[in-house]
Symmetry: C2
Subunit: 400 residues, 2 copies
């Protein structure tokens, strides 16, 4: 067989959530009657909003009639009706993003993983630790040097730049996965200033922006002045509108973002990414784009906000329980995640095993997100209300 990409051998053998799934399956085999409550993988549980389903079904009908059938998209970057809707959505929270700067994709994970393709391999990549594993793994796969910025108890799990360290590519995520922390405007301004000083690009993951309730917290990196010359943003409808099984997201690449090639010529990042996608992607299903556009109508926004409020109440219930138990945590406000310190200085995977085996509750071990995650544990608020209450009751009994 041909030579393989040996960078893969440096990766953990399995993606974190596949490891968790295996542990759950093993537990289920031993305990077929166990009533497992899943608060591990950040997956939603409420159905898609009615107005969104109706729009998708209309899109299906269009695909079934010759006059309205749609084949390949001309651009492969998404239909204007959806880009226009997302541009207006950005404007609603103070970020100016042109429709032409938006690229529709099949979920933030795809672009977040594939964006590495357009960068050279000698760049220094800076990732906050703990972090969503995709940032680390996609860079390890192409053999890049990664440095880490520590997010920890001392800084409220909101790493800030170290002026003495140089980076070329910076991954930030706010509201943060896994820690639930959010960056303030002032903190993001410091990151933008650092990126500009280092001639670096920020890859900003805003997948959880819809959970921000505090009006002072920016919902996009493009709420920060100057970010358009140093940042790419990735967002998704997965958490905004329950699209984890529908698959639609978007990436914003500002017009003014430019590379300088080694021969001194300027190359537009958008054009380079377009060239990448032109060869390796073919756009998003038309009915899915119809569904996505319906999310951003007044009716759609009203319906998805009901779902978000439901999850926010779950987060509140989890936070109250932890407060009562005296367990430290971040998140739970402006975020669907609760990041808790394992009691009695337990290690993350030990606490995972304890919760699974004693009370059949599944969370995510913090250690799976990086070294600073050791001793911490992630719970999600995306569950069913009654199941969330039940899980907290079990937790109280276990830890009281």
């Amino acid at each position: 067989m041909p030579q393989l990409n040996e960078n893969f051998l440096k990766l953990e053998k399995n993606y974190l959530f596949i490891n968790i799934a295996k542990k759950i399956n093993a537990f289920k085999e031993k305990n077929p009657d166990a009533d497992i409550i899943r608060m591990g993988i950040g997956d939603v549980t409420l159905p898609i909003a009615p107005v969104v389903i109706e729009a998708m079904k209309r899109g299906c009908d269009e695909m079934g009639a010759k006059e309205t059938f749609r084949g390949y998209e001309d651009s492969g970057t998404g239909y204007d009706f959806l880009k226009d809707a997302i541009s207006r959505y950005y404007a609603s929270f103070g970020a100016e993003v042109k429709p032409s700067e938006i690229r529709i994709n099949d979920g933030a994970k795809s672009d977040c993983g594939n964006i590495v393709d357009i960068f050279g391999n000698d760049n220094v990549v800076l990732i906050t630790d703990p972090a969503y594993p995709v940032y680390v793994d996609s860079n390890l796969m192409c053999g890049r040097k990664i440095i880490y910025a520590d997010s920890n108890e001392e800084n409220g799990f909101a790493a800030m730049p170290d002026e003495s360290v140089h980076a070329d590519i910076i991954y930030l995520c706010s509201p943060n996965n896994p820690t639930g922390s959010v960056y303030t405007r002032e903190q993001l301004e410091k990151w933008v200033a650092y990126a500009k000083k280092n001639n670096a690009v920020i890859i900003y993951d805003s997948a959880y922006e819809a959970f921000i309730t505090d009006k002072e917290i920016p919902r996009s990196i493009f709420c920060i002045e100057g970010a358009k010359s140093c940042a790419i943003e990735m967002c998704s409808l997965s958490k905004t509108a329950g699209f984890t099984g529908m698959r639609c997201g978007y990436t914003v690449i500002p017009e003014e973002l430019k590379f300088t090639a080694s021969d001194g010529t300027e190359v537009s990042v958008a054009q380079l990414w377009g060239r990448r996608q032109g060869s390796k992607f073919n756009g998003v299903s038309y009915p899915v784009q119809c569904a996505a556009a319906a999310v951003f109508t007044d009716e759609g926004l009203a319906q998805i906000h009901e779902n978000i409020a439901y999850y926010q109440e779950n987060a509140h219930i989890i936070a109250e329980t932890l407060n009562k138990l005296g367990v430290k945590f971040t998140g739970g406000v402006n975020s669907p995640y609760i990041w808790l310190k394992c009691p009695n200085n337990m290690k993350s995977w030990d606490f995972f095993d304890l919760l699974l085996e004693k009370i059949a509750v599944v969370g995510t071990p913090g250690a799976g997100f990086g070294k600073n995650g050791e001793g911490w544990f992630r719970l999600t608020a995306f569950g069913d209300r009654q199941r969330t209450i039940e899980a907290m009751k079990r937790l109280e009994t276990l830890l009281a």
Copy 2:
């Protein structure tokens, strides 16, 4: 800005079909009333079969109800109901493919482009010329050495291996895009023998298999004995069932396919690809998978065969016209493409301009597919019947 991936600068500035779209737009601006007939990009025109639309709408309804809502897929590789259906489909034309060897994706182009990630960059890549540009571009993007096997008039545009040349990764496509040629069983046996001798892997693009009418022509590389230890196959519902705007395809990675790492350990190709996709892909929209599964039911197959027969009749009409005009061509049988020799030794792009400007018919210049494509031109049979007839009338007037 960070260092860019300078391999991109070696690429043609634009993907072929984006260049064509630009030429058409310029022509339309100058000739706003022109009645353009598009036979360029290989896009379908008939609507999706009714049974498929109904299945997709049922999938939408499931996503709208709490009891049946589906979030992330556990595996991200596709639902069993679809993999089982595709496995049975393979069996119907004599290829044994297990459901566990099938990975559902958002179209063959994605996997075909992304598969390069799991290979090292020192492999020798062999691509038949002319070829679908994605094979070349995705390898140039990671800086690999590409060698070409000539497909030309002498060999009926069906390149065969040169035993004196070594290759590690071999791209084959049958029925071929762009030439419409098909490999016989004996020819594919030779390619499999060559791959085994070279310890190479074949990446086999069978996107047009549904157009094969000749029962002697294999519809999958896995109809060939021994292929499962040396081949990966990529197929799509785009041409089989008109899914160009729906986005669903599948990749087969046989269980027995293994890499040997430099330290001598064996690594399963399926596992490596799973690790790649685990970090960079999140599965296909559930309603789209419902639609895809309906394609492979008895009713679905009956309905899509009507559409395929319609396109085959278009191909026949084009072929008859070319025969009448004394224009040489390959394809048109077992294939939706007709690959014709430009009259009067014209160059491909000159013939493209002639057809666009004189008769407002759009085809694809053969030169866009590689050096052996120069002087040749691709027409597709995916158009509307009346428009195809009209295009052929115009062509007769022009060339008579």
